[in-house]
Symmetry: C2
Subunit: 593 residues, 2 copies
């Protein structure tokens, strides 16, 4: 089962944040970065826990303008667990000698484990072994196990287990000038069996409650030790005081329940979290159930390749992270596929066009997840209609970046991290997402034959998008063809012409071809629907016979720019651009990435 494991040998502080992202554990509902249990936000560490679709908006003043961004919120850190010997410091890998460090991401079972020996300034050597999971079976539960073995010392120690709500969105360097405070802590509470923390996002008013039950064991025997609960305004922690003996392991289990105000079947989140933690089983039992769930998923999900262990492992890494982003737990959660999973804050957790590449996988293996992802778009159809209206167009115009409610979340101005300048951002003109969404509907239908989805939801989105493209097209009498002007294609490095005030480019080939496909296919979909479904839909969407004829015409008379009449040009006028001054830039900047 080697090809299910990612193994990191040796402690490499510089690489830690990358490892955190790649070792994220998630279950399609929550995701937690693979940060060290004992770490807090610092130079080399960035613990992050994200809720699928858990967004919040904040306003920042930049360059004398107020801008608003919607972020994927970093919620409280449930991981934190640490220890110190009496008179010693809390464990911090950046401040002590680390030996035999090994970290393993076991993708087969969705378990992240770490093992290492540390030696502190007083020569005390201790071994730490940890395992953790974010349960695929019990979606509200996460858990970790920590085994501490003093190798050459005995003495009294303190173990701390915290729920830390003192969290900001601080994961992406280029966003650091922007407002990053998204959470208010509503309450901390000592429970019969542990502790709980409840927070609320300060704009979307999304509540998340976390409850934690931490238990110490000597083997399988529960240790009764002195315990103190300390809470401050933003966090709550249990401190355990005990004597550690050379060569004898102390095992800590931290079981966590997470509920939010968006959940089904709840009274209110903090009540559910407390009740759940009272019933939650021990680590081993949770692990067993979690393993079974991953086992079932892999039976449906595994892609086996012939070309070597590394490729095989990489394919599984992709499948693993995709399933952690949208799993059977995600069905009905009203989420889309974010550009980087729920694994961090880059791209703000927004939904771009990535479904285009990922839904073919779900269509065949997990059609219910694919459908749920498409429903994310359906529920935002009204907003897309408003966007089309505001652009003076018909139908539905889905945003390039979509988040909570489906408005355009693309930034209006964008920081060039090299120059430090804020520049206008035209990337929202990537209307081609409106071909991708239509394509995903068609592809889902082809794979599943789900005619009910097509009739009730899919066709409405598809025709609304077609209506947008139909109204966006212009007939160019010189060319004798239809053109799409002022758009941006998938190449985000070209968003306008030099020395031109025009936003966007004309006749991006990808966009033109794909839009024409949508318009042709819309007519085929109408044929697929039985009457009176088709007629009623056209009536509701106010699409008349003339509009259908227009679609047909555009579908066969779309303009395509060519270089020398043979090679399709990326967009009209591409051939007139000057070559990029590669040498000049290579001289000016070491790395021109």
């Amino acid at each position: 089962m080697d090809n299910f494991q990612i193994v990191y040998s040796g402690w490499d502080p510089e690489e830690q944040k990358l490892r955190e992202a790649l070792c994220t554990l998630g279950n399609g509902y929550i995701a937690t970065r693979g940060a060290a249990e004992e770490s807090k936000d610092s130079k080399n560490n960035y613990p992050g826990t994200y809720l699928a679709g858990g967004y919040n908006r904040a306003k920042s003043n930049i360059a004398d303008k107020e801008i608003e961004n919607e972020d994927l919120v970093n919620f409280p850190n449930w991981l934190y667990l640490n220890f110190r010997p009496e008179s010693g410091s809390w464990l911090n890998l950046d401040e002590c000698e680390v030996q035999d460090y090994q970290q393993v991401l076991d993708m087969e079972s969705g378990i992240l484990s770490r093992s290492f020996v540390i030696e502190d300034s007083e020569g005390r050597k201790s071994k730490i072994e940890s395992r953790r999971l974010v349960s695929m079976r019990d979606m509200h539960n996460a858990a970790l196990e920590w085994i501490l073995t003093p190798l050459n010392w005995s003495g009294s120690i303190e173990i701390v287990s915290e729920l830390d709500g003192n969290i900001t969105n601080n994961g992406v360097e280029r966003y650091r000038d922007l407002e990053s405070r998204h959470l208010d802590v509503l309450s901390t509470q000592e429970l019969k069996d542990g502790i709980s923390l409840t927070v609320q996002t300060n704009q979307t008013q999304l509540v998340m409650a976390q409850a934690a039950r931490t238990t110490l064991f000597d083997g399988n025997h529960k240790l009764e030790v002195d315990t103190k609960t300390i809470s401050n305004k933003k966090s709550i922690a249990q401190h355990f005081f005990l004597n550690a003996k050379e060569g004898i392991s102390v095992r800590a289990e931290k079981i966590v329940s997470i509920y939010t105000s968006r959940d089904k079947a709840i009274s209110e989140p903090s009540l559910e979290a407390s009740e759940n933690i009272a019933f939650a089983p021990l680590f081993d039992q949770l692990l067993k159930r979690h393993r079974q769930a991953w086992n079932r998923l892999w039976k449906q999900a595994d892609i086996q390749l012939d070309n070597g262990a590394k490729t095989q492992r990489l394919a599984r890494l992709h499948v693993f992270h995709i399933l952690q982003t949208a799993s059977p737990n995600s069905v009905g959660l009203d989420i889309g596929i974010p550009a980087r999973g729920w694994h961090g804050e880059a791209y703000r957790g927004h939904i771009f066009w990535d479904e285009l590449f990922i839904t073919p996988f779900y269509n065949l293996r997990f059609p219910d997840i694919a459908k749920s992802l498409l429903m994310y778009r359906y529920y935002r159809l009204e907003k897309a209609r408003h966007a089309a209206k505001e652009a003076g167009l018909r139908g539905a115009l889905y945003p390039w970046q979509s988040g909570s409610n489906g408005r355009e979340e693309s930034q209006k101005i964008h920081l060039n991290p090299q120059s430090g300048n804020w520049l206008p951002d035209h990337t929202y003109l990537q209307y081609h997402v409106n071909a991708a969404i239509a394509y995903n509907i068609w592809n889902y239908y082809k794979a599943t034959g789900d005619h009910e989805f097509l009739s009730c939801f899919g066709a409405e989105i598809f025709l609304s998008i077609a209506s947008f493209w139909g109204s966006k097209a212009e007939f160019d009498t010189d060319k004798g063809r239809y053109v799409f002007l002022q758009v941006v294609g998938p190449d985000e490095y070209h968003t306008s012409y030099p020395d031109s005030d025009q936003q966007g480019l004309n006749n991006n080939a990808y966009t033109n071809v794909f839009a024409a496909w949508v318009l042709q296919m819309a007519l085929d979909i109408l044929d697929l629907l039985e009457n009176p479904t088709a007629e009623r839909l056209l009536q509701r969407l106010e699409i008349d016979e003339d509009e259908l004829l227009l679609w047909k015409d555009i579908g066969t008379k779309i303009y395509l720019p060519f270089l020398d009449g043979e090679v399709i040009s990326q967009f009209e006028g591409y051939e007139d651009l000057e070559e990029f001054p590669w040498e000049e830039y290579r001289k000016k900047y070491d790395n021109i990435q």
Copy 2:
């Protein structure tokens, strides 16, 4: 289309609350009682707006005990619209002469209209005509139209349009000793186009925002009049000042947007409500779309009968209210079928066994709604497992009364409204709901062939329920049969034996037969699932071969009580009960209902 109309002629204050319930308009997401627009909670009027599944818990001190009840919350009243002539009083049908009163519930289009003439103490006669809808098409919108015509006078008038958050749960007389305050008003706001009010339930923390845009028209010409917005802590109102002329009608349109924190595709409710109301169309357009939606529903829903107009109308009244309770808008809302719809506060909006009678209708006509109602149970399976565990039994024990999170919501003590005594309430022993739920799953599967639902969700519920019944059964060696002791059957008037401390009755025939059916059918369902699905499910639910053999045995050896060996007895010992002292009670109380 007479058979789609309920017509009330004449103003009958005594009958008003019944009319309010029967004239409730809803769309499977929200429901608003048919109270007069100009009325507030009073002797004859009880405006109520309810959210499907919108519950809140409150504690009350009764008979020295603290009891907690979960109520369906009465949310702010969006209806309120009233007028007064200068120096006159606000319209109140209880205080003026009412002529030509007619109220029509048009079930074909989901429209409630009223028309009447009033004469005030100064002899001013005015005609009022109103129409309203809760949009089946645009689920976040409701709207009303009010036409005022001064018949014999002219003068300045004031019209008020309010969103009233000064609301308690006050609809059921017998609950009035209980805590009835469920709402905190979070904010009132004056919008560019109107007003908004945001409230939050004080325990479940469910947020509802309402925004209203009120516009006055002279025919189709918008009237620009003096307007003043007045808000206090719990409500906000727009006041319009204008001159009315004899014989000239003034038409007011009030368009309302309602969003809650449970909605999909939202940033936060008050933002969505304000944005929606800015885009919402005029009354006529909303009405047109609403009509189209009802038209489509009736095409699938209508039940046509041959035995007379009255029966036909009644059948439609039932279908109409069922569809207002759970409609295509309800799919995915995590709601069940409440005993009295979302039409008022009786039964607290709880979910009993009513699905048993109603899902056969949905199964054939709206299978997606039926499935969504079953998913309400699936999401509460974990709570049902806890309940079984706490009762010392296996599997899943669903509650007799289910609400927000699926715990047992039946009262522990119950007020006898006649004697004023609080008595222990054993009705929670109606475990037979756990046969009804299983039956609904089977029935849905039979009607739809939805094997995916059965494999992923239905079978898990069904087998968990079977496991409960299997562990509840006891083998009576004297009888040579299995018995179910201490249960309550559907006859809620018999919940224990006289002069016995035992809660519940033994061997209720309905329960025994139905439970045996569940146990037999569970085995059939296992046969229907392909392996390895069946095996994996048994493994997950920890059901072994012995347990399956036990089910088979119980299924064929259930005890049934008989009267004289021929007629099935309602329960064991029924024949030993004394006859009810009918005469004595008839003498003591006029009405022994």
